[in-house]
Subunit: 337 residues, 2 copies
C-alpha cells in the first residue's frame, strides 16, 4: 500500500513537482496540454494527496467544523447530512463539535488543538455574538444557519420564521380555533422569538382575545413542551389549540394531552415547527412547518468552501421556503359543549 507522491507523478509526466501541484490544485497558468498529461498520470497512479503534508505546507487544514449546542439529534443529523454532501465531494473533512457553556472558551480550546478552515454555526449558536466575533477575530471564515442578528457578519441561510408561524396560526384560526396557546422557545434563540412574533401577528390580525391566547415558556426540549402543556391545559382549560415553537415541544404537548386523556386532534389541535423526524414518527403525525434543513446546511457549506478558497468577503443570504405540513394533529375546533 505504498503511497504515490507528487514526485513520482512529476517524473512520469516529465514536469516539475510544482507543476503537478498546480494542476492538482486547479491553479491557473498551466498549459492545457500539460494539465491533461499530469491529470492522466495522476489518475493512472491513483494518486491521493497527503493531507498532512499539504496542510503543513499550505497552512490550510481542509477541515470544516460544525459547532452546535442543540438538544435534538434529529436536527443535528439532518445538518450533518447536508454538510456532508458538500464536503465529501470537495475533499474536505466535516467535524461535528458540541460546544459547552461558556461557548467562547469551549470553542477556543477546540481551535487551539485542531485547526479548521471554516466553521458552520447552527442555532442557537448562530446568534451568539461573542462566539461569532471571536471566530471572526481569529480570521476563521464562518457561515450560519438561521441567524437572527448581526446579519452582516457572515453568509447565511434562513427561512422566514415569522410568516411561517403566522401562516400556521392562521390555519388554526381558519379551523375555528379562538383560544390558542403558544409555547415559546429559548429567549436567546432568535428564530424562536420570530416565531412568537408570527403567532402574535396572526392572533391580533384575527382579533382574538389576547388573554385567551397565552404564551408559555419552553426551551425546545420535549420535556419542556410536556410541562408547558400541562400548565396550559390546567390554567386555561379551554384552549383548543397549541402552537409550539418547535417540533420537540409539540411532541411534548401531544404526549401531555394523551396522558390527560384528551384526544388529539379532537380535543386539542397541536402544531410544531421544523419538520423533524420525531414529528413523523409519533401518532398522530404532527402538523408542522417543514424547514429544508439538509438543503440549508448544504448551501451554507458550499458558501463556506467558496469563501475559504476565494478569501473574498461578499456575504450572501439565501432564503429557503418552508412547507406547511398539515397532518393529523390539527382539526376543526369542537363545538363548545
Amino acid at each position: 500500500m505504498k503511497n504515490v507522491t507528487i514526485i513520482e507523478i512529476a517524473e512520469r509526466a516529465g514536469v516539475s513537482m510544482k507543476t503537478v501541484s498546480r494542476v492538482l490544485n486547479g491553479e491557473p497558468n498551466v498549459r492545457e496540454s500539460t494539465r491533461e498529461k499530469v491529470k492522466k498520470v495522476a489518475a493512472e497512479l491513483n494518486y491521493q494527496p497527503n493531507v498532512f503534508a499539504r496542510s503543513l505546507a499550505s497552512k490550510r487544514s481542509f477541515v470544516v467544523a460544525h459547532f452546535h449546542d442543540n438538544p435534538s439529534p434529529d436536527y443535528l443529523e439532518k445538518i450533518y447530512t447536508g454538510i456532508h454532501q458538500v464536503t465529501r465531494s470537495s475533499g474536505y473533512l466535516a467535524v461535528m463539535e458540541p460546544l459547552t457553556v461558556p461557548y467562547t472558551k469551549s470553542a477556543g480550546e477546540y481551535l487551539a488543538r485542531f485547526k479548521v478552515d471554516g466553521v458552520i454555526l447552527s442555532p442557537p449558536l448562530s446568534d451568539n455574538t461573542a462566539l461569532v466575533e471571536m471566530l471572526l477575530e481569529r480570521g476563521i471564515p464562518i457561515v450560519r444557519i438561521s441567524p437572527r442578528n448581526n446579519f452582516e457578519l457572515s453568509s447565511y441561510a434562513y427561512v422566514d420564521d415569522t410568516s411561517a408561524t403566522k401562516a400556521m396560526t392562521e390555519h388554526l384560526i381558519e379551523l375555528g380555533h379562538k383560544k390558542i396557546a403558544f409555547i415559546a422557545g429559548p429567549r436567546e434563540h432568535g428564530a424562536a422569538r420570530k416565531r412568537e412574533t408570527g403567532f402574535h401577528q396572526a392572533t391580533e390580525a384575527a382579533g382574538l382575545n389576547k388573554s385567551e391566547c397565552p404564551v408559555f415558556q419552553g426551551d425546545f426540549s420535549v420535556r419542556s413542551g410536556f410541562d408547558a402543556a400541562k400548565a396550559a391545559l390546567a390554567n386555561s382549560g379551554d384552549v383548543t389549540a397549541i402552537v409550539a415553537a418547535n417540533d420537540d415541544m409539540a411532541v411534548g404537548v401531544v404526549m401531555a394531552a394523551l396522558k390527560r386523556g384528551l384526544d388529539v386532534p379532537g380535543d386539542l389541535s397541536v402544531t410544531g415547527f421544523d419538520g423533524s423526524r420525531l414529528g413523523d414518527i409519533i401518532w398522530p403525525q404532527l402538523t408542522t412547518v417543514k424547514q429544508p434543513v439538509e438543503e440549508m446546511a448544504a448551501e451554507v457549506t458550499s458558501m463556506l468552501l467558496e469563501e475559504i478558497v476565494a478569501k473574498e468577503h461578499e456575504k450572501k443570504a439565501v432564503k429557503f421556503d418552508v412547507t406547511n405540513l398539515i397532518r393529523n394533529t390539527t382539526s376543526i375546533v369542537k363545538s363548545p359543549s
Copy 2:
C-alpha cells in the same frame, strides 16, 4: 496569534528539539529534572503542537473514525458522546462517518482520503466480516460495540442480549401474558438475532404455545415496527403483548396500537430494547432494556487508543450490564373478555 514551536521551547529550556519532543510525547529516557523543566516552559508558552507537522513526521493522524450505518440519531448521538469524552481528553479527533452499501468500498474511499489511526464500529457494521477484515488487512486497529461474530478479531464491548430479552419476556409472562408476539430486527444484525433467541427461550421455558407467539420481521426502524404491529394485530388479534427487538420498533408498535384505538398498556403491553431517547419521550413511556451505550462507546474508545499507542494485540472483551426499565407500556394482562 503567532504559534509557539518546539524550537522556541528547546531554546528557552536549553535542550534540543528532540528532547522537547520526547517530553511532549511522554517517551521514556528523559531525566526527571529535564522533563519537568521542559514541561514548565511549554506550559508558560502555552504551547500547542502542530498536528499536521506531527502527523506528517510520525505517520499518525490522531484521528479516530466511527463508521456506522444506523438509522437512529439517538443511538448515534449517545455513541458520539461516549467516544468524545475519551478523545477530547486525549488530543484525538473523533469523526463520525456514515457508510453506505457496499461498505468496504465506501470505507475504502474514505480511508484513501483521510488517514485514521483507528476505527470504531457499531452495529450493524460490527458484524460485517468483509469490512472488519478489510480494515485489519490495512493494518488499521479497530474496536467494536456489540459484535456478534468474529470475536477474536478485535476488542469489544457487549451486553448479554439473549438473557436480557429473556428476562424482559419473562416479565411479561409473569404479568400473565400468554400470547406474545416478537418483532425481530435485521437478519444481518447479530445482536438482533440474540434477542430473538432470548425471546424463544423465555416462551419455551414457560411452555407457551409456539403458534401463539409469532415472530414478525422488522428492520429496526420505527416504520417497520409500525407495519409489523399492524400485521401482528390483524393476523393474531388476540396477542396481548409485543416484544420488539429495539426501541424504535417498539415505538412504532405503540403508535400502531394507538392508531387502532387500543389502550397501551391496557389492551396491549409493549417492550423495547435499547433505552433510547425516543422511548423516554413518548407517552406512555416505554418499558425497555436499557443499554449503557455511552459507557460502552467510551470504553471501546479507550481500548482503541491504547491499542494505537501500544501496538499490542491482546484483545479485550468488556461486558456491560443492562437495566430493565419497567415503565408504562406493560401491565398485567386483561382478563379475557
